[in-house]
């Protein structure tokens, strides 16, 4: 199988998908590793003659799942380390963001994982509610509810004192 679809993806959507996963998991290195692993799996599928209709959507879903597994392992390892003694936290990788961007990153990190995912897919990757529901395998109403709650949390990070948030999600 020729490598055109993979090369095209790397030259095109790759950066945006990595950034999306990084927004969700908080680590560019983990996001890159997850997206590259997802691409390797996509390549294998194509090798076997199994078509992938929308490569970007497929890679996004798989890499989010892989990053989720990594994060779960990190949490367990952190708990295990905590039981054995204190380890001073290591600063997350990637350049520091300032001002509002920093506040948004912090607010994103504080959101529940699913809310982080729908927020990144909606407001960074630009997917609509139907597409997000399809990618994450949840109902559209669930996506709307999660987006609503995430927007409430992000409103504070953006310095919005007004509790009213638009519900046209």
């Amino acid at each position: 199988v020729d490598d055109d679809p993979i090369r095209t993806f790397v030259d095109g959507e790759y950066h945006q998908v990595v950034a999306t996963v990084a927004l969700v998991c908080g680590s560019v290195a983990t996001a890159e590793d997850a997206v590259q692993e997802a691409l390797a799996r996509a390549w294998e599928r194509l090798d076997r003659g199994e078509p992938i209709d929308r490569l970007a959507a497929w890679v996004t879903t798989v890499s989010l799942n892989l990053a989720r597994s990594t994060m779960r392992r990190w949490r367990c390892e952190r708990r295990a380390r905590d039981k054995l003694g204190a380890l001073r936290p290591v600063a997350p990788d990637g350049p520091a963001a300032g001002g509002e961007a920093y506040a948004v990153r912090e607010a994103l990190a504080a959101l529940p994982r699913r809310q982080r995912e729908v927020t990144a897919l909606r407001y960074y990757l630009g997917l609509d509610v139907r597409e997000i529901a399809a990618e994450l395998g949840v109902a559209e109403g669930t996506v709307k509810a999660m987006l609503f709650r995430a927007r409430q949390a992000l409103a504070a990070a953006l310095g919005d004192d007004d509790d009213t948030v638009q519900e046209d999600v």
Binding site: Y14, A40, L87, P95, E100, A101, Y124, D162
Partner: protein, 313 residues
């Protein structure tokens, strides 16, 4: 001003980290090649296993009596534990036993007949498929292998120690950078360094714990200025210290984790996510180490051998 879609989109764009990805395609190709290698090894392992089963069946059918199955015999007094053998690896196997992607790494040494223990040089890190027990690759070293950890891009890191590392001038402990192609680069640790725990890899650094501090290296294995102040590691509360009392979490699998060591007398313990001990493992012998290979199975070394342990809850 209420939060609108445009403002959120702008905020997320600003908050998104920059992604370089200059060699992304090459990295994807390397991951694909590695997955192919593992799959090929599994297939050949299954084929070899099939051949062994056929041969064994023929032997058993042609022999009337005295059938013995050495590999399925449990280790004495430890139900659920069965010795297994790595294809083509006859050395003395001991920890660090670490899971590395789909593969497991173990340290292997020569085994002098005299005392049944192990000796070095040479030493090697053997990587194998835990399903088929087929050896995928070996990294030849000289000294005792204290710990192994995965880095990015297929790079692995190891700490090794000579037999007599206490010399005041010559380095006796080393940080080894093992590239994806198996090339080893060695960095001398300062003379007199006492290793306090396993090598730890972060996205930007490699840390070598020294008991109460850590030496820091960049991802090329070069010392970072100001190291020793980056992290303070405190392991447990045993007055005997971490070096001689190495209780540590060695593997995490889903909601369960595996702990090994001698602290509080625990050889191996399966903990639930909330810290509850759901199972304990006690193996006889020396050089006991564990690695979790799937939901219900732990591989371990004991007395230089590899064993498989059923840890179904």
């Amino acid at each position: 001003m209420p939060v609108d879609d445009q403002r959120l989109e702008r905020a997320l764009r600003d908050a998104a980290p920059p992604v370089e990805g200059a060699d992304a395609f090459e990295r994807v190709a390397a991951k694909r090649a590695r997955r192919r290698t593992v799959r090929a090894a599994r297939l050949s392992g299954i084929a070899a296993l099939g051949a062994v089963v056929v041969v064994a069946s023929v032997v058993l059918v042609t022999r009337d009596e005295d059938r013995t199955r050495v590999d399925s015999a449990p280790v004495a007094g430890t139900p659920g534990v069965a010795p297994v053998s790595l294809a083509g690896e006859a050395g003395y196997l001991r920890g660090p036993l670490t899971v590395s992607g789909d593969l497991v790494s173990v340290a292997a040494y020569e085994q002098p007949a005299a005392d049944g223990g192990f000796d070095f040089p040479p030493s090697r890190i053997v990587r194998f498929d835990p399903e088929t027990l087929a050896v995928i690759d070996r990294v030849d070293l000289k000294a005792e292998i204290l710990s192994v950890a995965d880095g990015a891009d297929g790079v692995r890191w190891a700490i090794t120690r000579n037999k007599d590392p206490e010399g005041p001038v010559l380095a006796g402990t080393f940080l080894k950078r093992i590239a994806a192609d198996g090339t080893v680069t060695s960095t001398d640790l300062p003379p007199g360094t006492v290793i306090g725990g396993p090598v730890t890899v972060t996205p930007t650094s490699v840390l070598v714990p020294t008991g109460t501090d850590a030496l820091a290296f960049d991802l090329d294995g070069h010392r970072r200025p100001g190291d020793g102040q980056l992290a303070t590691l405190t392991f447990g509360s045993s007055p005997r210290g971490f070096v001689r009392d190495p209780m540590r979490a060695v593997q995490v699998h889903g909601p369960r984790m595996l702990v090994e060591g001698t602290y509080r007398g625990v050889r191996g313990a399966v903990l639930a996510e909330d810290g509850r001990v759901v199972d304990t493992i006690s193996l006889p012998g020396r050089d006991v180490a564990f690695a979790w290979v799937d939901d219900d199975t732990v591989l371990a070394t004991t007395d230089g051998r590899l064993v498989r342990i059923d840890v179904r809850p």
